[in-house]
C-alpha cells in the first residue's frame, strides 16, 4: 500500500517531497485564516495535512529503498549545504514525520465537531491557521538538517501552540494562566537551545547538523562545546517535558481545547524528544554524549524519576485529562530511560515507545474529546457510566488504556517488552523492575477511569445514550485498531525503529 502510493507520485513531487512536506501546510496556514468560514478552513486543513501525510509516506519509501535506510538530502531553495539550509531525512526522522503527519491528518478530520463546539465561530478559521502553523513547525523540526533552522521551526510550532492552548479559555479560564506559563517556560527552553547552538557555532563555524557532527570530533574537549551541550540538553529537555522540567505540561494539557490536547499529547513532546535524540547521538555522538559527560547518570535517574513520580501523581488526580497529562510525562520518562541505555537496542525501544505512545495518547484524548463534546466535564465523576451511554467510544478508550498499561496484544506491550529487553541486556535489572512497577501504577490510574466508565452508575441517571459523532469515531477507531495491530504484529514498526537505531549507531549495532 505504501509502495503503491509512492509509485503513483509524479517524479517532480517525489523529488521535492521534503520541501513540500513543510511548505504546503505553511502556505495553507495564512490561506486558511482569510477563508470566509470555518468549514472551508477545515477542509483546507484536511487537504494540507493529508498532503503532508502523503509526502511523509513518499519519504519513508525513499528512505527504505536501501537496506538499512538511505539518507534523503534536500537543499532548500537550491542553496547547497552546508551554506544553504538542508532538509535531511533518514531512517530516524522519517518515522517521526510519519507519526506527526499521520496523527495531524487524523486529528484534522476528527477535530471539526469538537472545535465547533469549543471555539467561537468567528475564530475557527484562525484556529485552523494556528493549527497548521503548529503542524508545519513540528514537521520542520523533524525534517530539517540545520541547527538554527531547527530552532526557528521549534519556535513556529511553539508560538502556534501557545495560541492554541490559550484558546481553551472559552471552556475554562484557567487555560490562560496555563498558556502564559507555557509561553515563559517554552521560550526559555527555546532560548537555551539557541544559546547552545551559538556555542557550537562558535566552536565549529557551521550550523549544518551533519557538518557539526564531523567538526565536533576535533574540538570535543573544549569548554565551549561542553557549555553548548548543557544548554541544548536543558533547552530541549524543557520542550520535551523531561522531568523535572515538566511543570508546564499538566496545566497546558488539562485546560487547552480538547482537540489541541489530543494533538499536542500525541506529537509535540515526541518531536522534542526526537530533536534530543538527534543532538545526543548524531551531533555529539554516543561517546561524547554518554561516556565523556556521564550523561547516563543524568538521563537515567530523570527518566526513572519521571516514571515513578508522575505515575504516582496521575494516580491521585480526579480529572481525567490531568491524569492522562501526568501519565504523558511518565511515558516521556520511559522513552528517556530507553535512550539513556545508550545502545542501539535502547534507542530502538525508545523510538518504538515514542510512536506507540503517540498513537495511544492520541486515541485516549480523542475519546475524551468526544465525550466532552457530548456530555461535558472531564472529572472522573463526569465519566461515570459512560460505558453504557457510549459503548463504541469508550471501548476504543479502553483499548487504548489497556495499551498504555502494556497489556499483551496491544502496542504498549510491544514497546515495554522492547524496553525491558534493552535494559536487561545492559544488566539494568533494577531499572527494568522500576519500569514494570510503574506499569502497575498505570493499572491503577487507568483502572480507576475504566471502572468509573464501565461499572459505576452515571451521576445523572437520565444520561442520554449518545455516541461521539461518527466523524470523531472513525479516526478514534483507526488509532485504537492501529494500537492493536502493532500489538499483534510489530515487525514492521520494529524494523523501522531498528533502522533508525542503525542510522545512529552504524551497521551491526543491533
Amino acid at each position: 500500500m505504501i509502495e503503491l502510493i509512492s509509485a503513483l507520485m509524479p517524479a517532480t513531487v517525489a523529488a521535492h517531497a521534503p520541501a513540500l512536506l513543510v511548505a504546503v501546510p505553511m502556505v495553507m496556514a495564512p490561506f486558511a485564516a482569510i477563508l470566509p468560514n470555518g468549514r472551508l478552513a477545515w477542509l483546507c486543513t484536511i487537504f494540507a495535512t493529508g498532503f503532508s501525510l502523503l509526502m511523509a509516506i513518499v519519504l519513508l519509501t525513499q528512505v527504505r529503498s536501501i537496506e538499512g535506510g538511505a539518507v534523503v538530502s534536500y537543499a532548500m531553495g537550491g542553496w547547497e549545504p552546508p551554506a544553504g539550509i538542508e532538509f535531511r531525512i533518514d531512517a530516524l526522522n522519517s518515522i517521526v514525520l510519519l507519526l506527526v503527519s499521520g496523527i495531524g491528518f487524523l486529528a484534522a478530520i476528527f477535530g471539526w465537531p469538537s472545535i465547533k463546539a469549543e471555539i467561537l465561530n468567528a475564530k475557527i478559521a484562525m484556529f485552523f491557521s494556528a493549527y497548521l502553523m503548529c503542524f508545519c513547525g513540528l514537521l520542520g523540526v523533524a525534517a530539517t538538517g540545520d541547527a538554527f533552522n531547527l530552532f526557528v521551526f521549534l519556535e513556529i510550532s511553539s508560538i502556534a501552540t501557545y495560541v492554541l492552548v490559550a484558546l481553551g479559555y472559552g471552556r475554562d479560564r484557567r487555560a490562560l494562566p496555563a498558556a502564559a506559563n507555557y509561553v515563559l517556560m517554552g521560550t526559555i527552553g527555546a532560548s537555551f537551545f539557541v544559546i547552545g547552538v551559538g556555542f557550537l557555532y562558535a566552536a565549529t563555524g557551521t550550523l549544518n547538523i551533519a557538518e557539526l557532527a564531523e567538526r565536533l570530533k576535533d574540538v570535543a574537549d573544549s569548554r565551549v562545546v561542553l557549555a553548548g551541550y548543557a544548554f541544548i540538553f536543558v533547552g530541549l529537555g524543557l520542550k520535551a517535558a523531561m522531568f523535572p522540567l515538566h511543570q508546564w505540561l499538566p496545566n497546558a494539557y488539562a485546560y487547552s481545547p480538547n482537540f489541541v490536547t489530543m494533538f499536542l499529547a500525541a506529537t509535540a513532546t515526541k518531536v522534542a524528544i526526537y530533536a534530543l535524540i538527534r543532538f545526543l547521538f548524531t551531533v555529539f555522538g554516543t561517546d561524547f554524549a554518554f561516556e565523556d559527560t556521564s550523561l547516563v547518570w543524568v538521563l537515567m535517574p530523570m527518566g526513572i524519576a519521571a516514571m515513578v513520580a508522575c505515575s504516582f501523581q496521575a494516580v491521585f488526580q480526579t480529572d481525567v485529562k490531568r491524569t492522562l497529562a501526568y501519565s504523558s510525562v511518565a511515558q516521556v520518562g520511559y522513552i528517556l530511560l530507553g535512550i539513556s541505555v545508550g545502545t542501539a537496542a535502547g534507542v530502538s525501544a525508545g523510538m518504538l515507545h515514542l510512536v506507540n505512545h503517540g498513537i495511544i495518547k492520541g486515541a485516549l484524548f480523542m475519546a475524551v474529546a468526544g465525550m466532552v463534546l457530548v456530555y461535558k466535564g472531564t472529572s472522573l465523576n463526569d465519566f461515570r457510566g459512560l460505558g453504557q451511554a457510549a459503548p463504541w467510544t469508550m471501548t476504543a478508550f479502553a483499548i487504548a488504556g489497556l495499551s498504555l498499561i502494556g497489556v499483551p496484544l496491544t502496542a504498549g506491550f510491544q514497546s515495554k517488552y522492547a524496553l525491558v529487553s534493552a535494559l536487561l541486556d545492559q544488566g539494568w535489572w533494577w531499572a527494568a523492575m522500576i519500569l514494570v512497577f510503574t506499569s502497575v501504577l498505570a493499572v491503577i490510574y487507568i483502572g480507576r477511569i475504566l471502572e468509573a466508565v464501565f461499572f459505576r452508575a452515571p451521576t445523572n441517571p437520565n444520561k442520554r445514550h449518545k455516541e461521539a459523532p461518527l466523524i470523531m469515531l472513525v479516526p478514534l477507531w483507526i488509532m485504537a485498531l492501529a494500537s492493536i495491530w502493532i500489538g499483534l504484529d510489530a515487525t514492521f514498526l520494529k524494523s523501522l525503529t531498528n533502522d533508525a537505531a542503525i542510522s545512529l549507531f552504524g551497521q551491526g549495532a543491533l
Binding site: 530552532f151 519556535e155 509561553v183 539557541v194 551559538g198 563555524g205
Partner: protein, 176 residues
C-alpha cells in the same frame, strides 16, 4: 586576570543581562514584568550572537571599496554569488583563502542574519504573551500570578466541596 575579565567584557555583559532577565521571569509575580524579563533574556541572546561574529578591526559585512569593484568587474552574477557564499561560510577552510584576498576585514554576517530571524521570533513570542496577558486581565481582573493562583484554588476548593456534598446527598437518598 583583569585582562582576562576585560577582554571578555561583551560576554560579561551578555551573562549579566541574561541573569537579570531570568531573575525577573522567576522572581516577579506580575505577568507583564515576567514578559519584560523574558524579552531582556532574549535580547541578551541577540547580543551574544552578534558579539560572536565580531572580528577585531572588522567592519560591517557590506563589500565596499576595491572589494566591491573587484567583484563587480567580473560582471557575472555568478561571481557575486560565490563571494556571498564565501562570506556565509566564513569558518569553512575552503573559502578562507578567498576571504584573505579582500582588502578589508569584515565581520561574520551569518550571526547577524540569524539574529534577524531570532528578533522576529522574539517579537512574535512577546506579542502572543502580551495578548494572553490581556485576556487574563479580562478573565481574572488582575495580572498578578499569585492572585490568579489564589482565585483558581478557591474555585477548585468550592468545586470539590460541591462534589462532596453532592455525593453525601446521593448517599443519603440511596440509603433512604
Amino acid at each position: 586576570m583583569l585582562e582576562f575579565v576585560l577582554e571578555r567584557g561583551n560576554y560579561w555583559a551578555v551573562i549579566g543581562l541574561m541573569m537579570i532577565g531570568l531573575y525577573i521571569v522567576f522572581a516577579s509575580t506580575n505577568l507583564l514584568k515576567r514578559l519584560v524579563g523574558l524579552a531582556t533574556f532574549q535580547t541578551s541572546i541577540l547580543l551574544f550572537y552578534v558579539s560572536l561574529s565580531r572580528i577585531n578591526g572588522g567592519t560591517a559585512p557590506i563589500l565596499y571599496g576595491k572589494d566591491y569593484y573587484a567583484e563587480a568587474k567580473d560582471d557575472h552574477g555568478a561571481a557575486l554569488d560565490a563571494s556571498a557564499d564565501a562570506m556565509l561560510t566564513a569558518g569553512d577552510v575552503g573559502y578562507v583563502k578567498s576571504l584573505e584576498d579582500f582588502e578589508h576585514i569584515y565581520s561574520n554576517p551569518l550571526p547577524h542574519v540569524l539574529m534577524l530571524t531570532a528578533i522576529v521570533v522574539g517579537v512574535a513570542t512577546l506579542a502572543v504573551g502580551l495578548a494572553i496577558t490581556v485576556r487574563i486581565r479580562e478573565a481574572y481582573g488582575t495580572v498578578e500570578a499569585d492572585e490568579i493562583r489564589a482565585m483558581d484554588l478557591e474555585v477548585a476548593i468550592s468545586e470539590a466541596v460541591d462534589e462532596l456534598e453532592e455525593r453525601e446527598a446521593a448517599k443519603g437518598s440511596g440509603s433512604a
